[in-house]
C-alpha cells in the first residue's frame, strides 16, 4: 500500500488496501496522493453528486483515458450520481466540413468518439443531450446550490459554480473529476476551505462603460493567475442581483479568467453570493491591487496576436459562444444580427456563422422562440452544440480565417478574437 499522510476512515482504507478490487484501489491511490500534495487532512463527501467531466472527445491518442474507461466498464464501476460532459467535437449538420476535413476528423482526430460515448454511457453519463460546458444553466439541470461540494472539471464550469453559485470545487483535472464522482469523495483542500476563498487581489474596475466580459476576464486571469480576485466597480454596470443577463456576463468573464489564467473563484462586490454575505471581509490582508481602466483593457486587447495565415483575410467562419451561449444570449444575438442585417439591407450574413449552445438550451430555444430559430437559419446562421476548440484542432482548418468572440477559443487555436460589436459589423455589413 502507498504511504499517505491524510486521515482515512476504515472504509476508505479498505479501498486503498485493494479489498474492493484493483481498479478502485488505483482510483483511491490517485485521489489520496493528489490530496496529500495539498496537505488535505481528509476526504469529504461530494454533496452535489452529479459530476461534470471535461474530456468529451474520443482522440485515439488518449490511450490512458480509454484504457481506464474500459477497466471501469468491465467491472461495472459507475459514478454515483451520474455526470454531464463537455461538448462534442463534431456536428457536420451545422458546421460545414469538406470531404478531407471529415476524413481527418473521423479517422484521425476523433476516431474513437462513438466507442468513447458508449463507454461514458456505461460509466454514468446522464443522457445523450448532456454534452455542454454550461451544464449549470437552468435548462441543462446540473446546477449545484450554495455550499455544495463538487467533483467537477472544465475550468469555465468550475469558476462559475464557485463564484456565481457559491458551490465549492477545486480546479480538478480530467480523470480526477470522474474518480471523485465514482468514490463520492474529494480531498478537502483549496477552494473547499473558507480561508482559501478569500481574495488576495483587489481588482478596481474604472472603465467608462461596461467592459467586454471576455477582455476583462482575460486581463484578470493574466494578472492574478490562480489567485482569488475581489472585483470592485463592476456592480455599477451589472447591478446587485444575479439574473440571466448578469449570469451570462459572469459566465464569459469567468471562462476568460480561467483559460487566460487559472482563476477558480472570483468575487464581485455586491453581486456574487459570498461577496454579498461577507463584503470586504473576503479580502485578505496585504492583497494586491490591479486597476483596470479603458487604457488597460485596450492594452490587453491589443496584445492578442493575429495568428491568421493571411493577416488581413476576409473571415471565413465565425464561432460565437465559447462557453456555450445562454438562452438570453441566443435571443440577444438574434435581435442584434437580424436588426443589423435589416439596417444594412442585407438578407444573409457575410460568412459561415455558428452560434454554439447546449443541446437542452437549443431545444428550449426551438420550443419557445421557434420564429427566432427559423430567422437564424434563414439568414445563414447555424446553431450547434459543438465545441469550437475541438473543431479547430483539425490541421486542415488551421489556414482558415476563423473569428470568435471567445478568449478561450483564441487561446487554444488560431482563431482571431474580435469584440462583440466588431463581429456584428463583420458579419452583417
Amino acid at each position: 500500500m502507498i504511504d499517505y499522510k491524510m486521515t482515512l476512515t476504515d472504509d476508505q482504507k479498505e479501498i486503498l488496501e485493494g479489498k474492493k478490487g484493483e481498479t478502485l484501489k488505483k482510483i483511491m491511490e490517485t485521489v489520496v496522493l493528489f490530496g496529500d500534495i495539498f496537505d488535505a487532512k481528509r476526504l469529504v463527501s461530494v454533496t452535489h453528486l452529479e459530476g461534470h467531466l471535461v474530456t468529451s472527445f474520443g482522440i485515439p491518442l488518449l490511450h490512458p483515458l480509454f484504457d481506464t474507461m474500459k477497466e471501469l466498464n468491465d467491472q461495472n464501476i459507475t459514478a454515483k450520481g451520474g455526470f454531464t460532459m463537455d461538448p462534442r467535437p463534431l456536428d457536420y449538420q451545422n458546421v460545414k466540413c469538406n470531404f478531407l476535413e471529415k476524413i481527418v476528423f473521423n479517422k484521425i482526430l476523433y476516431g474513437k468518439q462513438k466507442e468513447y460515448e458508449e463507454q461514458l454511457l456505461k460509466a454514468g453519463l446522464t443522457d445523450k443531450d448532456s454534452f455542454s460546458c454550461t451544464c449549470y444553466l437552468k435548462e441543462c439541470g446540473n446546477r449545484p446550490k450554495k455550499g455544495d461540494i463538487l467533483s467537477w472539471a472544465e475550468s469555465s464550469a468550475v469558476v462559475f459554480a464557485n463564484s456565481v453559485l457559491g458551490a465549492r470545487c477545486n480546479r480538478n483535472s480530467g480523470m480526477l473529476d470522474l474518480f471523485g464522482s465514482i468514490l463520492g469523495l474529494v480531498p478537502e483542500f483549496g477552494l473547499l476551505l473558507d480561508e482559501n476563498r478569500k481574495a488576495t487581489w483587489v481588482i478596481e474596475v474604472k472603465t467608462s462603460k461596461i467592459p467586454e466580459a471576455q477582455i476583462l476576464g482575460s486581463a484578470i486571469g493574466l494578472k492574478v493567475m490562480e489567485d482569488v480576485p475581489y472585483i470592485k466597480g463592476l456592480d455599477k454596470f451589472l447591478g446587485t442581483e444575479i439574473n440571466d443577463e448578469t449570469e451570462s456576463y459572469l459566465k464569459d468573464m469567468g471562462a476568460a479568467s480561467a483559460s487566460n489564467g487559472a482563476v477558480g473563484l472570483f468575487h464581485v462586490e455586491n453581486l456574487t453570493p459570498e461577496a454579498k454575505d461577507q463584503g470586504e471581509k473576503l479580502i485578505k490582508e496585504g492583497a494586491k491591487t490591479y486597476v483596470i481602466d479603458d487604457a488597460e483593457l485596450e492594452r490587453v486587447y491589443k496584445s492578442y496576436p493575429n495568428m491568421w495565415k493571411h493577416k488581413d483575410a476576409d473571415p471565413e467562419l465565425c464561432f460565437i459562444g465559447c462557453p456555450h451561449l445562454s438562452l438570453y444570449q441566443l435571443r440577444k444575438w438574434h435581435d442584434d444580427i437580424i436588426s443589423s442585417l435589416k439596417a444594412n439591407n442585407k438578407k444573409k450574413v457575410n460568412c459561415q456563422v455558428v452560434l454554439t449552445s447546449a443541446p437542452k438550451v437549443v431545444n428550449e430555444f426551438k420550443k419557445v422562440n421557434k420564429d427566432m430559430y427559423d430567422d437564424f437559419y434563414r439568414v445563414g446562421v447555424t446553431i450547434s452544440s459543438i465545441c469550437p476548440l475541438m473543431y479547430t484542432n483539425n490541421p486542415l482548418v488551421h489556414g482558415k480565417a476563423i473569428m470568435t468572440n471567445s478568449n478561450k477559443l483564441r487561446t487554444y487555436s488560431m482563431a482571431r478574437y474580435f469584440k462583440d460589436e466588431d463581429i456584428l459589423k463583420l458579419i452583417t455589413k
Binding site: K26, E29, T30, L33, F34, I37, F38, V54, T55, I59, L61, L62, H63, P64, L65, T68, L109, A153, E154, S155, V158, N170, R171, N172, S173, G174, M175, L176, D177, G190, G221, M225, E226, S259, N260, G261, A262, P305, M307, N393, P395, T411, Y412
Partner: protein
C-alpha cells in the same frame, strides 16, 4: 569558473536527472502548449502556446521544464498523463511556486496509471526562476536539490 547555484524544493515525484533547462516565466498553459504535438502524434513536443513568449516554438521533450505553475484548461492533468504515456514529456517539472492542482493531477496520474519516470519538484522559489535560463544545464537530485551547473 562561475559558482554553482543550488536550490532546494519539495519533492512531488522523485528521481535523479541531469539535462537542459527550458524556462517559462509566465504560467505554462498545458493544453495550449502540448495539444498540437500530442494530437498529431509528434515525436517531440514543440510548444504551441502563442501566449507563451518564452517557449512558443521550442522543443521541450526530455528537457527540464522550469515554470511558476501551469494554467489553462482542466484537461491539463490528462494531457500531462498522455504525453508521459507517449514518452514525449519534459523529463522534469520544476515549479518555483507550490504546484497547482492540474499539474499535480497529471503527475499523480502518470505515476499511478502509467508508471512514468517523470520527476517533479515544487516550491523552488522566485529566485530560482529569476536565475535559471533556457539552455542552462541542471542537475536534479531525488532529495529535491536542483543545481545550476
Amino acid at each position: 569558473m562561475s559558482e554553482k547555484k543550488v536550490f532546494k524544493g519539495r519533492v512531488i515525484a522523485k528521481g535523479n536527472f541531469k539535462g537542459e533547462a527550458v524556462v517559462s516565466h509566465e504560467g505554462f498553459n498545458t493544453l495550449a502548449s502540448f495539444q498540437k504535438s500530442a494530437l498529431l502524434n509528434k515525436k517531440n513536443v514543440i510548444v504551441s502556446d502563442q501566449n507563451n513568449k518564452d517557449l512558443y516554438g521550442k522543443d521541450i521533450t526530455n528537457k527540464i521544464l522550469c515554470l511558476p505553475i501551469t494554467i489553462g484548461s482542466t484537461t491539463g492533468g490528462l494531457v500531462i498523463q498522455t504525453v508521459c504515456n507517449m514518452h514525449i514529456n519534459p523529463r522534469v517539472f520544476l515549479f518555483s511556486m507550490p504546484i497547482d492542482s492540474l499539474a499535480a493531477s497529471g503527475i499523480v496520474l502518470a505515476k499511478v496509471w502509467q508508471n512514468s519516470e517523470v520527476i517533479c519538484i515544487d516550491e523552488l522559489g522566485e529566485e530560482f526562476l529569476n536565475t535559471v535560463k533556457t539552455g542552462d544545464t541542471l542537475e536534479v537530485k531525488e532529495d529535491g536539490t536542483v543545481t545550476i551547473l
